[in-house]
Subunit: 134 residues, 4 copies
């Protein structure tokens, strides 16, 4: 059991969460996506073709910031406001989709883009599931 | 002139920005709001009535995270995606409104909540102006 | 294989890293620690004894910020500066030790503190291993 | 008076702080440095000579993360641990010095690097003053 799930179980307000599984999956997917985007931007900066990868680096940095903030806000699940959560999950989904599209365009050439696209698509799906459970 | 404005002026893609003023104001308002929320949560934790301030602390922490991420994404202004920017500014506006409402309810009693509410309302307005310029 | 490890393997400068295992472990431990601290602070805010948990909340928030920043900086591994990395890993280790000590003092009573202390101790150890490999 | 100073004055534990001025200056310098580094990395990505600016982008991103986390931790000033604060201020000072050196090397050519170097040097000095007051 992950730390995220364990703490949700031990939280005085987490025990009765209907969507605890969707919540834990979203938190973990956001964290992994944020790190993958940070690492993929770093790897893109090391490629000899860096000048072709500028926009890929930008969307990766954006997605790292948005998914990182989403992991934090979603971890604060007690008495959450549905409007804020919905807007932030929508923003995170948009950031993931952009980063994934950009990395998929380079996935044949760069394995780090292939891995990063996977992490972004997984996060996009987890945000969608949590959005649908609201 | 602030650092934010100076760097926008010096950016090869920032020179022709129509909404440069709205952009610089939004960046600075997000930064100040993020810090005010972090500091107000810290001050609330020191109040003897902390148990009445739990939700005020939560919304302040949420707003600190969302406005902090918004400052970063909005600073990456080249070739930005309008959908992502719109969704994130909407999330930031929602987070600011929640934190401001919560702090306004305690503004008579706690000067730190009064100041934090000001910073949140200013950020909410700056996000609205940037949204309208898109 | 984790996303962090996969991207390190695919990074043009990551292939020859002697300490790639220590690096990937440190990145993952920092991410999990950061999330555990965010979630534990949230759970502490929900406890009826919140006024006894103020300092536990503070050190958890500090540790979430420092381990989150450390995960990012350590992910940017190319041509890193040893002084910065050493100082930041030392700060992260200090933040983890403080949060762990505080949570361990409440571990009998609060399962979320027990889990968070584990995540912090694991991160402290991973930072130590990476420091020793420099 | 800035929001940071106003909230420190209103904080129940902030009223008697000997080093309140050094604290408020450090918080504000960290925020401005973090934003300047984010914006300078963005501007560097837009330069035609981006491949010569890779390491400048990396140190700017590192400095943005470290100074951002430092602003948060230093804002949580009650019962702070001197070891953690010292280690983190040392890390921030190192990150600022690296980013400043890198930007100073390009300051003649790129005005954004000149502005960013200023913000980093100011933050380095503010961290040093706060360190000396501990």
């Amino acid at each position: 059991m992950s730390y995220a799930t364990s703490i949700l179980r031990a939280d005085p307000r987490g025990r009765n969460l209907g969507d605890r599984l969707a919540l834990a999956e979203c938190i973990e997917a956001c964290l992994e996506c944020s790190q993958a985007c940070t690492a993929c931007a770093e790897a893109c900066l090391s490629e000899s073709s860096v000048s072709d990868l500028r926009d890929c680096i930008r969307v990766a940095l954006d997605c790292a910031d948005v998914s990182g903030a989403t992991a934090k806000v979603v971890s604060r699940h007690s008495r959450y406001d549905a409007n804020l959560r919905r807007a932030l999950l929508a923003a995170c989904r948009a950031a993931c989709a952009l980063a994934a599209e950009s990395c998929e365009a380079h996935a044949e050439r760069y394995a780090h883009c292939r891995v990063c696209a996977d992490a972004c698509r997984r996060c996009e799906a987890a945000c969608t599931r949590l959005l649908e459970s609201l």
